[in-house]
């Protein structure tokens, strides 16, 4: 603590600050899983940047976009996309686990069970994924 901390602190005292080691999250599997869940955001952030870059190349014409597509065929890029998919699926699993805790639906005296809220989200996930895949195959791939 700095010497003038008593000026910033209206109460002149020395609070006890419990030390926490920087590797606290390695100590049990719940903490490790928590960190893994938080870490899913790193590859997904990179994926979002990759998409922006792809849009930029698309705006620069067909040759530039084809260059970007060729780069996406590199084995390391394919591996990166597999990692992104795995990270996003892990995120989805944990996200749907916690939504019933935030999304509490009451119908009169009846509280919609957590299981239903969760199942609804899984249903939505399947429908959204299938719909986007079909739309892409029909309108983005579309050779015709």
């Amino acid at each position: 603590m700095s010497s003038d901390s008593s000026n910033a602190n209206p109460v002149n005292r020395k609070p006890y600050v419990q030390k926490q080691s920087a590797n606290w999250w390695l100590q049990n599997r719940y903490y490790r899983f928590y960190m893994l869940r938080e870490a899913t955001s790193v590859p997904i952030f990179g994926y979002a940047l990759l998409l922006i870059w792809g849009l930029l190349r698309l705006s620069q014409g067909e040759a530039a976009f084809t260059d970007w597509l060729a780069l996406m065929q590199h084995p390391l890029m394919m591996l990166f996309h597999l990692l992104v998919i795995a990270a996003a699926l892990l995120h989805a699993y944990t996200w749907f686990d916690l939504t019933p805790k935030i999304l509490v639906i009451r119908l009169g005296d009846f509280r919609v069970p957590d299981r239903w809220v969760k199942l609804g989200h899984y249903g939505g996930f399947v429908v959204t994924s299938a719909a986007l895949l079909c739309l892409a195959l029909l309108f983005i791939k579309g050779g015709a």
Binding site: S6, N7, A8, P10, N12, Q20, A22, W25, M35, E38, A39, T40, S41, V42, I44, F45, Y47, A48, L49, L51, I52, G54, L55, L56, L58, S59, E62, F65, T66, L69, A70, M72, Q73, M77, M78, F80, H81, L82, V84, I85, A88, L89, H91, A92, W95, F96, H121, G124, F125, T128, S129, L132, L133, A136, F139, I140, K141, G142, G143
Partner: protein, 126 residues
Amino acid sequence: MSNAIDNSTNPKRYGRSHEPIAWSLFGAGGMVVAFIIPVLALISGLLMPSWPADSLYQNLLGLTQSWLGKLALLAVISLTLYHCAHRIYHGLHDLHVEANQTLMLVLFYGGATLCSAVCAGVLLII
């Protein structure tokens, strides 16, 4: 130097928290990442590169030149960025990465905002 408490020169000030705005963007982004990113990464990363390039270019140009397409892409990309920036910001705190808090806020939420602005700019000129 006196240690006496002088609230007239050093009033206790409560700044407004950034959390409500940051958390709503994080929450909306969490939904987008859960529902859309898995299938989007499958399409854009694993399927699209092997699709016929000339019609793919025309179709994607058509998508990004429609207002619905522009809006959807911007929403998905920017909410994903805000979601991830929020997680990385708090994750670094958990990992005891000590840095100036204002700098970290500007770096992460500002970075997500800047990247979203670039994305919006590209979508506007496309």
